[in-house]
């Protein structure tokens, strides 16, 4: 439905968006994820019409939208600050866009009531924005931007101002509303958990470029670069050189005096190529004795234990000085924990647990 074709945006010397080509499909919940300053907000503001690309074209439903001003686009935006009109009541805020369309009065009434029901704000219709709480304001902003039946809804860090508990509830509400209305949602966020929870596809951005676009599970399990692996979640990175060992198996030598690690990888590497093994902490097992039939096993000393209640993360120092994180679920009570600081333990993982990435 949306097609960015070689879009570049420059502010003087600074390139915010660098020759970017992406597609966003109908009824999709698409997340733009990246650190601040990576160009994700610029990308969204170009969709809304507040910025124009320096080069390239943006198509919405096959039509080039460059000459269309923001007020003529079938695109609505939910602002990071919510941008509720302080001088109007909640009801009037939601009706604002409908009134501009010259919609008949009783249709406006029906639509506003519907939006109030959808966002559970019926009780607050007569209040002013400063008379309601932060979570309610966020729902008003959502209702206002959805009221006009946009083909595309843009959400700019919509949940940034909410506390964690409220944010989690609202994420599910957002997904619910997206399913009910069938609108295409594009969300901008720097919170990877939020992107993973709500989105059907996630685009990871850095320095004005898209690094990887995929479903949340593929982004997490099969990152295509060290940057994505490191940005999404927690990861151990082990540097080494690859050596082909079977059809799609590699032996990665990583430190003198240690057996090479055996890794299965669909990505092809040439012999002697520098590479990184990216492995998630929860895929590393920890045990007191040397595991009998593990593909990879290394010995180390527990440096630190981060106890998070449901899980614990063990920081294990290898004889090489590298620190590997291993995560286990705390299925037993803490008093029965098997390991403690300074214990010597074995870390092990299977050949398929990690991803081999080029430098």
């Amino acid at each position: 439905m949306i097609h960015f074709q070689n879009v570049t945006k420059r502010y003087g010397e600074f390139t915010a968006i660098d020759n970017l080509t992406i597609d966003i499909y109908e009824r999709e919940f698409y997340a733009l994820l990246g650190p601040s300053g990576c160009g994700k907000t610029t990308l969204m503001r170009m969709l809304a019409g507040f910025e124009t690309p320096t080069e390239g074209k943006i198509f919405l439903a096959g039509q080039d939208i460059a000459p269309v001003p923001p007020n003529k686009r079938a695109v609505n935006m939910m602002f990071q600050s919510y941008a509720l009109f302080p001088h109007l009541s909640i009801w009037e805020n939601i009706a604002f866009g409908l009134k501009r369309e010259k919609m008949p009065k009783h249709d406006i009434n029906d639509r506003v009531e519907e939006m109030l029901r959808l966002t559970r704000l019926e009780k607050f219709a007569r209040r002013k924005p400063h008379q309601i709480s932060g979570g309610q304001r966020q729902r008003v902003a959502l209702a206002r931007s959805l009221a006009k039946h946009p083909k595309l809804l843009l959400l700019d860090e919509p949940l940034g101002a909410l506390d964690k508990k409220l944010r989690q509830d609202t994420q599910f509400e957002l997904m619910d509303i997206q399913e009910k209305t069938g609108t295409t949602f594009v969300i901008v966020t720097h919170d990877q958990e939020e992107a993973m929870t709500v989105a059907s596809r996630v685009a990871v951005m850095d320095h004005g470029k898209i690094i990887q676009v995929s479903t949340p599970d593929r982004i997490y399990e099969n990152p295509n670069s060290v940057y994505v692996a490191d940005f999404i979640g927690d990861v151990n990175l082990i540097e080494g050189t690859a050596k082909l060992n079977g059809s799609d198996s590699y032996a990665m030598s990583w430190h003198e005096g240690h057996a090479p690690l055996s890794i299965k990888s669909p990505n092809a590497f040439s012999d002697g190529q520098k590479c990184h093994l990216a492995i998630r902490p929860e895929k590393v097992a920890i045990s007191a004795d040397q595991p009998a039939e593990a593909d990879n096993a290394v010995q180390g000393r527990i440096l630190d234990i981060a106890y998070l209640g449901n899980i614990s993360t063990y920081h294990v120092e290898l004889p090489t000085g590298a620190v590997i994180k291993a995560q286990t679920a705390n299925t037993r009570r803490i008093a029965r924990r098997a390991f403690t600081w300074e214990d010597t333990v074995w870390l092990s993982w299977t050949a398929t647990a990690g991803v081999l990435l080029a430098d």
Binding site: A48, G49, F50, P69, P70, N71, K72, V75, N76, M77, F79, Q80, S81, A83, F85, P86, H87, F96, G97, R100, E101, R127, K128, H130, Q131, I132, S133, R144, S145, K148
Partner: protein, 271 residues
């Protein structure tokens, strides 16, 4: 609460005495029975009565009010537009120069402003009267309005206007329906400032007024040159009370609004 120290109490008393003793004396003597300004001869309100029969004063007062209303309204419209363009207009050529130039008339000696306007009016052959005073007051009050309004616009959340555009407003509608209602308090205080400035201006008005129109400050000034009469005291007392009532009302209204907003916000947080 801390008791006020001896030094602070004296400073406060002296300061306020310095500010208000002249005015208090003026008010007292406006109720003086005697025509002599310096001799107290008993209480009377007869000067107020005589004031009401003084055609010249009443005419001047009427001219002053007309000038103040028209010029402050025009200054508010022009000043608001100027402020909007300077704050929002993006980076056009010479923007910094324009922003600097809008402040220049604030520091320009009034004599120079008045003189230059007088030369202009003579140059284009405009007869001096109410119209020229209105033009002159608009010119200098506009700068004050634009300073007041632009300081509000600088803190104005730009995304509110973008939200209005996003919801289908043309830029003009966005200004009328969103920006203007929100900056209204600044625009109103700009108007009030322009109104007061016009009301008490003597220098510029005396350059630009003609025989057909005299404002109250000019009238008072010329009357005083012939000697201070209790009538002037009465007139000044009336002006002082109008200003006092205005200021007190305005601050009570603001205080009330702030208190109400605070209460409502607290209620919202609890809910």
């Amino acid at each position: 609460m801390n008791r006020m120290s001896w030094f602070n109490a004296v400073s406060l008393t002296l300061g306020f005495a310095f500010l208000y003793i002249p005015m208090v004396i003026l008010v007292i003597f406006s109720f003086n029975e005697s025509k002599l300004v310096t001799v107290w001869a008993g209480f009377s309100t007869k000067w107020y009565g005589e004031l009401l029969e003084n055609e010249a004063f009443l005419n001047a007062a009427w001219v002053t009010i007309k000038v103040a209303v028209f010029s402050s309204t025009m200054a508010t419209v022009l000043g608001t537009i100027a402020a909007y363009v300077l704050v929002r207009g993006g980076r056009f050529m010479g923007r910094t120069l324009f922003s600097g130039m809008i402040y220049a008339p604030l520091v320009m000696p009034e004599v120079i402003t008045g003189l230059s306007l007088l030369l202009l009016f003579i140059g284009i052959g405009l007869d001096r009267g109410v119209f020229t005073i209105v033009l002159a007051h608009t010119t200098f009050a506009m700068c004050y309005v634009s300073v007041v309004v632009s300081s509000r616009l600088v803190t104005f959340d730009r995304s509110l206007e973008e939200a209005a555009l996003d919801l289908g407003c043309s830029p003009a509608e966005a200004f009328r329906l969103v920006t203007l209602p929100i900056i209204a308090p600044a625009v109103i205080s700009g108007w009030l400032l322009a109104f007061t400035l016009s009301l008490d201006d003597l220098v510029i008005a005396s350059f630009t007024s003609g025989p057909s129109a005299t404002t109250l400050p000019i009238k008072i000034f010329s009357a005083v040159r012939l000697g201070v009469s209790p009538e002037i005291n009465a007139l000044s007392t009336i002006m002082i009370s109008i200003v006092t009532v205005g200021v007190i009302t305005a601050s009570l209204v603001t205080k009330h609004q702030v208190a109400r907003q605070k209460r409502e916000e607290q209620a919202a947080e609890r809910a």
